[in-house]
C-alpha cells in the first residue's frame, strides 16, 4: 500500500471519529474543539481531491472564523454555576434510527450507482481557474453573495445590540 493511500485512510478515520465526537460528547466546549479537528480533516480530504484553494479557504473561514465564533457563543451563553443537564433530548432513539437509516440508504445508492469517472491530470493550481470563473461566468452570483454578506453583517449587528 503506498504512503498516500495510508495517509488518506488515516485522514478519513480522523475526520469521522472527530465528527462522531462532536455529535456524541456531552461537554459542549469539547464538541466545539472536536469540530475543529473534523473541519481540519475535511480540509485534508480537499487536498487529496486537488482542491488546494478550497482547502485554504476551509482553514481560513471555517477553522479561523466559524469555529472561533461558535466557541465565543458557547462561552457567552454558558453559566458556570448552572446545573449540568443532559445535552440530548428525548428523541435520541428515534433520531439514531433515522440517522442510521439515512446513512444506509445513501450508502446503498452510492454502491448501486455506476459512477462515471473521468481521468484527468493533476492541475498545477486551481486559483487561476477559480478567479477567472468568478469574474466571468459566475459574476452575478459573486455580486449577489457579496450583497448577502453585507446583509448578514448588518443583520447580525442589529440583532445582537442592546435594545435602547
Amino acid at each position: 500500500m503506498p504512503l498516500a493511500e495510508i495517509v488518506f485512510w488515516l485522514l478519513a478515520a480522523f475526520t469521522i471519529i472527530s465528527a462522531s465526537f462532536v455529535v456524541l460528547n456531552n461537554q459542549l466546549l469539547y464538541s466545539a474543539i472536536a469540530l475543529l479537528f473534523a473541519l481540519f480533516g475535511v480540509a485534508g480530504l480537499y487536498i487529496f481531491l486537488w482542491a488546494d484553494f478550497i482547502a485554504g479557504i476551509q482553514l481560513l473561514v471555517y477553522i479561523g472564523g466559524i469555529n472561533v465564533l461558535i466557541i465565543f457563543g458557547i462561552m457567552l451563553t454558558n453559566k458556570i454555576s448552572s446545573v449540568r443537564l443532559s445535552q440530548t433530548n428525548v428523541q435520541q432513539g428515534v433520531g439514531a434510527v433515522i440517522a442510521l437509516w439515512l446513512m444506509i440508504l445513501i450508502s446503498l445508492v452510492i454502491s448501486k450507482t455506476p459512477w462515471l469517472q473521468i481521468d484527468s491530470s493533476e492541475p498545477s493550481g486551481t486559483v487561476h481557474a477559480i478567479g477567472t470563473l468568478l469574474l466571468s461566468k459566475y459574476l452575478l452570483p459573486f455580486e449577489a453573495i457579496s450583497l448577502l454578506l453585507l446583509g448578514a453583517l448588518i443583520g447580525a449587528a442589529l440583532l445582537s445590540r442592546e435594545a435602547t
Partner: protein
Amino acid sequence: MDQLNNYLYISAILFSLGTFAVMTRRNGIAVLMGVELILNAANLNFVAFSRFGGMNMDGHIFSLFVIVLAAAEAAVALAIVINIYNNLHTINVDDAAMMKE
C-alpha cells in the same frame, strides 16, 4: 484515494452524523455544529464530483459559495442564540418555542 465512492461514503457518514446532532441536541449551538457538519458533507461531495468529473471547476465555485453562506449563517444564528439567551436565560431549543410573550 483514487475512487469516487470512498469520498461519497465519508460524506454520507458526515451527513448522517450531522442530521443526528440536529435532531437530538438540546443546545442551540450544538444544533448549529450539526448544520456545519451537514454543509461540510455537501461541500466534500461537490469537490469530489468536480475532481472525478474531469477537474471541472464549477464544483469548486459552488463549494466556495457554500462556505460563504455558512459563514453568514453562523454569524446570524449566533446573534439570534445570544438574543434568546438574554431573553429566556437558556438556549435549549425545546424551551424557545413561543412566538411572542
